[in-house]
Amino acid sequence: MRPAERAMGKLTARRGERILAWLTLLALAASTVMSLAVAPPDAEQGNVQRLMYVHVPSAWLAYLAFAVVFVASIAYLKSGKSRWDRLGAASAEIGVLFTALAIVLGSLWGKPVWGTWWTWDPRLTTTAILLLIYLGYLAVRRLSDNPRRRGRWAAVVGIVGFADVPIVQLSVTWWRSLHQGPTIRVLGQSTIAPIMLATLLVAVAAFTVLYLYLMAVRLRVGRLEERAMAEALSPRLGQPVEALMGDGEGALSQREPEPEVTPRA
């Protein structure tokens, strides 16, 4: 876990955040130029197909963010360190935005192509269910103001939710395949032109950088929240604020139970 923690530390330091901000700006600018100007319109769908360059990256991030929630949840339950809980919460808040965005964009794309807003396309439907699971995760965080309970409960939702998503995807795909209807076909033609693929990859990279930037900001806010809490506690406990930051001396380590020793007769 150490190298991961160090990387996270670097990323979220003030300088790291500024660099990410600039990178994000550049990447999004490049992506916009490529999506709107460089890539050609689709043979069948025309310019509407350009929505792919925002819809697909959004969807990619929706799932990536949830994978981060999953990993953070496991790390939190194993180590008890609050930084993993903060990571999971941040990724969930950002992920839910990308998920909603992916669904809205998918709908917008679908309307001119299929004539309706929603056709229960398996991938969009799974994404919609992912959105609900995200909302459940965030709702659970509101159930308790005890940070450790909140973190654990959310972690359970994150883990079970993530494990469930592939099965949901499978079930919805089978469900859908019985009634063939319009599906999101990412592109009109059967193979993707190299320039379109390049544009798509740039878009995905740009959105990923955006995600990292948003994460850096949100994690900094999370640390500020923790500091505010420590400052509220400090006078009541008669302890300096620094001693109350981080996990204090009460860090949990659920995974290493001491072996029970039965005394020899």
Partner: protein, 238 residues
């Protein structure tokens, strides 16, 4: 209605004793907050095996929270400790096997009978249910063995909880305001359990602000505002 101490020996042996040579309880700078409200603040608390310790203090002093931390019902926000030789955070199962908490919440199932409640507790603690009828007799509930708890008074419920503790015979017995809402006879039964534990050499910690009880203790500790404070009556005297 007192459980006779000689009879205690006939109850089935329940739990293996703690590791030798360690304090029964050793807490170091334990702090517990709820939100931003501290309930227990930097408490150092040590109890040797076999002691009977009384904790006194006004409402809200943190006695309940402290006991619940020792019982591992709560984890400390800061600080560390060992109970029966097991770490407060990492050795919870070991602590739970050796500790019984008697509080004013009786943890019973309303629609089960007295006997069924005890049997279930035995199953959860992995001890034999053979001693259930005898335990019920000890606390004077033999004639309501088959009655559902829903109809019980507070006194009867607490007696049932005492029976549960007697069955388990834990090396560490924690009592958190056990006398609340009880009549004199039921209070005596609780004291009987404390006496039985003390006689058997087990450790007892009792928190109560009922001034008429607690005479069995060998030592008194005072709490106020979440901290352990010196005896307010003895301050200034040699």
């Amino acid at each position: 209605m007192f459980p006779r101490t000689t009879d205690a020996a006939t109850l089935p042996a329940a739990v293996e004793p703690a590791r030798a040579g360690t304090p029964a309880i050793a807490l170091s700078r334990v702090t517990r907050v709820f939100g931003v409200i501290p309930a227990v603040v930097r408490v150092d608390f040590t109890v040797e095996p076999g002691e009977t310790v009384l904790i006194r203090g006004p409402n809200g002093a943190g006695k309940s929270t402290l006991l619940r931390i020792v019982a591992t019902a709560l984890s400390p926000t800061y600080g560390e400790g060992h109970v029966q030789g097991f770490d407060l955070l990492r050795g919870r199962e070991g602590i739970r096997r050796r500790t019984e908490l008697l509080g004013h919440r009786t943890r019973l199932y309303e629609d089960l009978t007295a006997s069924e409640n005890l049997r279930f507790a035995c199953a959860m603690h992995d001890i034999s249910a053979a001693g259930v009828p005898e335990a019920l007799e000890h606390v004077g509930l033999a004639d309501v063995t088959g009655e559902r708890v829903r109809g019980f008074s507070q006194g009867m419920r607490q007696r049932l909880a005492v029976a549960r503790a007697l069955l388990r015979r834990p090396p560490l017995l924690l009592l958190d305001e056990p006398y609340a809402g009880l009549d004199g006879e039921a209070k005596d039964i609780v004291d009987g359990a404390i006496l039985e534990a003390r006689t058997a050499g087990r450790t007892v910690v009792l928190a109560t602000h009922d001034l008429s009880r607690g005479g069995l203790a060998s030592r008194t500790v005072f709490m106020d505002g979440g901290r352990i404070v010196p005896d307010p009556l003895r301050e200034g005297r040699p």
